[in-house]
Subunit: 140 residues, 2 copies
């Protein structure tokens, strides 16, 4: 861990929300948990592109921000399950909207993103969340 050196901007709600969702896999993690993929090892398998280390760190931050809760079962090998808190659930409409917007505009977005000068390669093999059911009902 390090200590932030530039003051964190929390002026408008946008920046607060951004801080919570700020992390390469955080929205995806929240979405996974909302779809009952709740054990760390399951989440890890869901995102082959992510490192175990990073997922651990981001899970811990989400927990620290009160978006998820952790339940540890006193077993061996250990068993841990995460679940969304109430405020965590309240984020789901936003995350689902982001997901839908991205999918709805996929062809356009892939084009413009690949045209961006700094991009040399993209990866599509990472997320396997499509195998799981949608959560639309739950957040309806």
């Amino acid at each position: 861990m390090y200590e932030r050196k530039t003051p964190l901007t929390i002026d408008c709600g946008l920046h607060l929300t951004k801080e919570v969702l700020n992390g390469k896999w955080k929205p995806a993690i929240l979405r996974a948990i909302s779809m009952d993929v709740k054990r760390p090892s399951e989440i890890l398998r869901l995102f082959p592109g992510a490192t175990r280390r990073v997922l651990n760190v981001q899970l811990k931050e989400l927990e620290g921000h009160g978006m998820i809760e952790k339940k540890t079962y006193p077993q061996l090998p250990p068993k841990v399950e995460y679940s969304l808190t109430e405020i965590g659930w309240s984020l789901m409409p936003i995350i689902e909207a982001m997901n839908q917007w991205g999918d709805a505009n996929r062809s356009f977005l892939e084009k413009v993103i690949k045209n961006a000068p700094k991009i040399s390669e993209t990866s599509k093999s990472a997320c396997q969340i499509y195998r799981h059911m949608t959560v639309a009902q739950k957040i309806g």
Copy 2:
């Protein structure tokens, strides 16, 4: 500019959306433009916490991603106005939702964010967008 070395994850819509919104001021910039704060100098004044350089860079990326359009008036001193494209407008419900979620949960979020170990200081003086009207009607 640099060249990205790790492949960009674009597996699910979430990651595509994240890529577009990925930038300290991008959601705020889009929101500003949606509220008719469209000239670079105006946007800059709106976010005292942001550098001119960063806003330029992020505006350019948003333009490159097709979220905003730039109109340059052949004048001196130069005059430039940005506006949202159609797809840029289609992002506004998400951005407004993020803003509202952050504001609705402000007291809780400020608490947990400040408790996070890596935070030492926060800044609240940056965004002055509250002086402007809401855009609710426009995206209704």
